[in-house]
């Protein structure tokens, strides 16, 4: 479980970047953090991983205070996928890249086991292992970065704008893989994302931030239906939600529910 208790943080010579953040994320949840640029989303996920330490308050992961454990030591528990995969990739082949992450985190295990795990992940992600990461496309490099993180089987996965700059197909590749990990292995996913369609399709719960504060917390669809919250946080809800609201179908904005309501209306029109 991830728990933030009255967490505040400010960068040197700046006002507070996030202030008084308190929320809990249970094991196995898929949470999206939403907000405009500068809302404090990335700062929040960095605080969760301990890459930055709160100026006040505390962040707990599975009951342990992140300020008291080195980040590198927590890497087996928490995986962090950055927006730019090139910051993570540093080896000449995809296989070496995956083994590098495994050696850093599971160096105490026998080499054969790490090699076997790397091969398993390579097969799962559809890589031969001999590809040169820097010669791959942006989306494929993001998949290499994700593969090297998932290879260590973290309990928590933090994603900082994982689909930025990816086409729809690559986006689906990445997000489907993450959802599978979330559903099958109960990996907790905390995702910062600007693509509201992706949030609607994959996340279960949304935290809405603006000016470093938490404005809303709830199931994704309920959050998107809250017009005032969306306007305050400068978020444009997904088209499906907007369309449902325009049609006056509040509460019926899943594709199936919308189809039911529209079918019922059409039937009513025929009868008249």
């Amino acid at each position: 479980m991830i728990e933030l208790e009255k967490v505040s943080f400010s960068y040197a010579a700046q006002g507070p970047t996030v202030s008084d953040l308190s929320f809990q994320i249970e094991q196995g949840e898929f949470v999206a953090i939403l907000g405009a640029n500068g809302a404090g989303k990335t700062t929040t996920v960095k605080l969760i991983d301990g890459l930055i330490r709160p100026t006040s308050g505390r962040v707990m992961i599975h009951g342990s205070d992140t300020a008291k454990t080195p980040v590198s030591q927590r890497a087996r528990q928490v995986g962090f996928l950055f927006q730019n995969p090139d910051r993570q990739i540093c080896k000449n082949t995809v296989r070496e890249e995956i083994l590098f992450g495994l050696s850093a985190v599971r160096g105490d295990e026998p080499e054969e086991r790490r090699t076997a795990r790397a091969e398993e992940v390579l097969a799962d992600f559809g890589f031969t292992g001999d590809e040169e990461p820097f010669a791959l496309s942006r989306g494929q490099r993001q998949r290499v970065a994700l593969a090297s993180i998932l290879a260590v089987e973290p309990e928590v996965l933090i994603l900082d704008e994982p689909t930025t700059g990816l086409d729809y197909r690559e986006c689906c590749h990445i997000m489907d893989r993450i959802r599978r990990m979330n559903r099958e292995r109960k990996v907790t996913v905390v995702m910062v994302c600007h693509d509201m369609e992706v949030v609607l399709d994959y996340a279960d719960r949304a935290l809405v931030m603006a000016c470093g504060r938490l404005l809303g917390d709830g199931p994704v669809r309920e959050i998107f239906r809250d017009r005032m919250l969306m306007e305050t946080a400068s978020i444009l809800p997904p088209q499906m939600i907007g369309l449902a609201q325009r049609l006056g179908l509040d509460g019926g904005d899943t594709p199936e529910a919308m189809a039911d309501v529209l079918a019922a209306r059409a039937k009513g029109g025929e009868e008249q």
Binding site: D49, L51, P70, V71, S72, Q73, A75, R76, V78, G79, F80, F82, N84, D86, R87, Q88, I89, C90, K91, N92, G101, A104, V105, F134, S148, I149, V152
Partner: protein
């Protein structure tokens, strides 16, 4: 560290100086430091460095640079003192001449490293490039190359810091290692830094090309960089420093 090279806006005397004069001031301090071997002149030059920083209104940055250089200076001082055999022994293997030579070398290093960083902190890189073209008639292509290289330094440092952060997050123990062990961990990261840098350079090249880089002439800049009284005073100071360095070796 990455903030050391960032421009700090202001209206101080140093800010208002012609960029070429500032560059001249930097060169003169470095040349004077190499001409003289007198510890007091070197101390005077160090005082000049500090004065530039304080007059420019960047005392914090000045002291930070000094603090950063102190680590290297102490290492160099110890090494020089232990290796220099000439002179009267004071204690163990340390001689009077060894101490003096070590102090001179260290002071020279500090004096030479400070002014360029300080001048860059109070001069816009674009002003430096334009002034080099207008006043010294340096071809724009070369001035742009030099100033772009300077502009990239903080960006590379930031990039390196981000790469190290990403590697720490995946389990590389940067947050626990120190000294040579940390250096050993940094070396494999040169590959992503190099690749990111080449990509950035390529993008910059394309960006300047599409904005008509090749069409640029010396007359393209609309800002003028005349020499004023402040520059004249700075040049007198420069002459004084060179004379002092030559006279008191």
């Amino acid at each position: 560290m990455k903030d050391l090279f960032r421009y700090v806006p202001g209206r101080s005397v140093i800010h208002r100086m012609n960029p070429v004069t500032k560059l001249l001031l930097t060169v003169v301090i470095c040349v004077a430091a190499f001409i003289t071997g007198n510890i007091f002149v070197l101390l005077g030059l160090l005082a000049a460095d500090l004065a530039i920083g304080f007059i420019a209104g960047v005392p914090g940055k000045t002291l930070n640079i000094l603090k950063g250089l102190m680590k290297i200076a102490i290492f160099l001082f110890v090494l020089q003192t232990l290796l220099y055999r000439d002179g009267t022994p004071l204690f163990w293997i340390i001689t009077d001449k060894g101490l003096l030579t070590a102090a001179t070398v260290v002071l020279r290093l500090v004096v030479v490293c400070m002014p360029l960083t300080l001048v860059l902190a109070v001069t816009r890189v674009s002003d430096l490039a334009n002034a080099l073209v207008q006043v010294l008639h340096v071809p724009y292509k070369y001035a742009f190359t030099v100033t772009t290289a300077i502009r990239f330094i903080p960006q590379f440092l930031e990039e390196m810091s981000d790469i190290m952060e990403a590697q720490t997050a995946r389990g590389v123990a940067f947050d626990k290692a120190r000294g040579l062990r940390k250096l050993g961990m940094i070396l494999p990261l040169c590959a992503p830094l190099l690749i990111t840098s080449v990509r950035r350079t390529e993008l910059t090249a394309v960006a300047v090309e599409v904005r008509g880089f090749a069409l640029r002439t010396p007359a393209s800049g609309y800002r003028r960089y005349p020499f004023g009284l402040i520059d004249a005073a700075a040049m007198i100071v420069c002459a004084g420093m060179i004379v002092a360095a030559v006279m008191i070796r």
